[in-house]
């Protein structure tokens, strides 16, 4: 009898669940489905807001042939690649170090995390001064005898400067994620290893690092996605055109700059890049 009763109430009340999903569904329609389809549609037209003209694949051809877009893609990839290559191992090592302490862990976590929570614009503006020829970055490298670099004045060093900003900002996040994964490793693994006479280094190589696979995958994915969307920091450092010499121009910067003219292809390409 109970089963029959349950079935009956389940059937008649089903529609209520859809109400629960109403906000999300409205959101998807308005903010996701419509814009995406419209973007795709528009990518085949040349539009100035009210008048449209069918252009076929011309937009795509145009974008792919402008040197500027190529530069934007290169910059975006470059900055992100360099950032991830440094921040992931560095984050891991620091997380490992923090994890092996008994006290001050929370203090250290908070300390390293502060750059991450600061608004990107403020951090970027701050770094205009940090990367100045006489700014603190050069002071620091000066301590090690490395000559001062005019970070923001030529193309390559500007990109490295942007990478440094990203590393600085995302280090805390990487550390936290690694710490979470490190704490999930059961101590029993280590106990067993040490009973068998394993050294610390070997323990890390065979126990710790393999378990970090999930963390690394996550951080690479998130880092990559965030990198593709990079705009705010480079905007603060280099403006809309990504000076110097467009070296800080990112894909999104390109979209923003050309945007309200004929950006649509940029959009489609962006989509493709994500898959």
């Amino acid at each position: 009898m109970t089963k029959a009763k349950k079935k009956k109430s389940a059937g008649s009340k089903q529609w209520i669940w859809y109400l629960f999903l109403l906000p999300s569904i409205i959101g998807i329609l308005v903010c996701m489905a419509y814009p995406m389809l419209e973007a795709l549609r528009l990518s085949f037209f040349k539009s100035n807001g009210s008048i449209e003209a069918w252009k076929g694949l011309d937009n795509y051809k145009y974008v792919l042939s402008t040197g500027v877009f190529g530069k934007a893609v290169f910059n975006t990839f470059f900055i992100t690649f360099f950032q991830l290559i440094v921040v992931i191992p560095l984050g891991f090592i620091i997380a490992l170090a923090i994890n092996s302490l008994k006290h001050y862990k929370n203090l250290l976590k908070a300390l390293f995390f502060i750059p991450y929570i600061s608004p990107a614009i403020a951090a970027g503006t701050l770094f205009l001064f940090v990367l100045h020829p006489q700014g603190i970055l050069n002071e620091l490298t000066g301590v090690f005898g490395i000559p001062a670099v005019s970070w923001l004045e030529n193309a390559t060093s500007a990109r490295f400067g942007a990478s440094i900003l990203s590393i600085w900002k995302s280090l805390g996040f990487n550390i936290i994620i690694f710490l979470a994964y490190l704490q999930a490793i059961s101590p029993e693994y280590y106990e067993a290893a040490f009973i068998d006479g394993c050294t610390n280094l070997k323990a890390h190589r065979y126990i710790t690092i393999p378990q970090m696979g999930g963390a690394i995958a996550f951080l690479i994915t998130m880092g990559w996605i965030n990198g593709l969307q990079r705009f705010t920091e480079v905007y603060a450092l280099g403006g809309v055109t990504g000076s110097p010499a467009r070296s800080l121009h990112t894909i999104v910067g390109f979209i923003y700059e050309r945007g309200f003219g004929n950006y649509e292809f940029g959009v489609a390409i962006f989509c493709l890049l994500l898959f």
Binding site: Q14, W17, P35, K109, H132, I176, Y190, F231, C271, L274
Partner: protein, 289 residues
């Protein structure tokens, strides 16, 4: 390396106290190094002549302590307005998001209805769509609706949050089904069950969502940049960048002070709630992908 199994966390700590102290000192040093830019920013903000004498080479001593820079920067009330705007957008955005996400997660966790799996998949798929691709059509849409330069376009997108729904769904999954079953037997419909039984239990996950979404909304830059065209509607990040550009050769004092004022509130909130914030982000990372 012996393990101390802590009651709170599983830890592997270094046995040797000396080594630990050494490591702690190094890490503290590294941490302080990392926040050095902020320290410098604070020093320059309070430096009376920072606008005239560039702050190079950098020193960490305030030669002429003064609130002068703060006065100039807040003179025309733009900063205060920006704060008000940011708070409005962030608070409303968080409310919209929390409601939508709690309801969605609950439906997917405790609900039973046709197409549940399909809709869930669709929602997860939306996570993959980057905002920038939708940005311009959304702008055009709001243009048509005459909602440009209002806060609505900033608040509305908070309504769809696949990640948030995943978090809440996992949370509700952990709450025992017998609660909803008992409610059903007593004749309560899904909505009542939701409001009276499950909602009061959602405090931890709501805290997480509120923190993450608040930070997201507060720090948001690109979309407000596109949508807000009026000077009085600017949010804090926009104001900071506008300041930096109006400055021309970037008067160091003013710029640093504006950055300071932009970072300090977030910093304070962070320092108070840091344990929860860090926990939330760690959680989102481990459960995320």
């Amino acid at each position: 390396m012996k393990k101390y199994v802590d009651k709170e966390e599983n830890t592997c700590s270094i046995n040797n106290k000396g080594a630990r102290i050494f490591l702690t000192v190094i890490l503290l040093g590294a941490g302080l190094l990392l926040i050095l830019p902020f320290v410098w920013m604070t020093v320059v903000s309070f430096e009376r002549y920072a606008n005239i004498n560039p702050p190079f080479p950098p020193s960490f001593k305030v030669k002429n302590f003064s609130w002068f820079n703060f006065k100039i920067v807040t003179e025309n009330g733009a900063m205060l307005k920006a704060y008000k705007n940011s708070v409005t957008v962030a608070v409303l955005g968080v409310i919209v998001n929390t409601i939508s996400v709690l309801m969605g997660g609950y439906a997917f966790s405790k609900g039973n209805f046709k197409g549940k799996k399909l809709i869930f998949l669709i929602i997860i798929a939306t996570m993959m769509l980057p905002f920038e691709t939708r940005m311009i059509p959304m702008y055009k849409l709001f243009l048509k609706l005459k909602l440009v330069n209002t806060f609505v376009p900033l608040i509305l997108p908070n309504i769809i949050d696949a990640f948030g729904i995943m978090l809440t769904k996992q949370f509700f999954d952990k709450l025992p089904d017998c609660l909803s079953e008992a409610a059903a037997i007593d004749g309560a419909g899904p909505f009542r069950t939701f409001m009276e039984i499950f909602m009061p239990l959602t405090k931890p996950i709501v805290a997480t969502i509120v923190i993450l979404k608040f930070m997201d909304n507060w720090n948001s830059f690109l979309w407000p940049l596109v949508i807000l065209t009026g000077e009085d509607k600017r949010t804090v990040p926009i104001l900071i960048s506008a300041f930096s550009y109006e400055g021309g050769t970037r008067a160091a004092g003013s710029t640093m002070t504006v950055a300071f004022l932009g970072i300090i509130p977030v910093l304070i909130v962070f320092l108070i709630l840091q344990k929860y914030i860090i926990q939330s982000i760690a959680l989102s990372g481990v459960k995320g992908e």
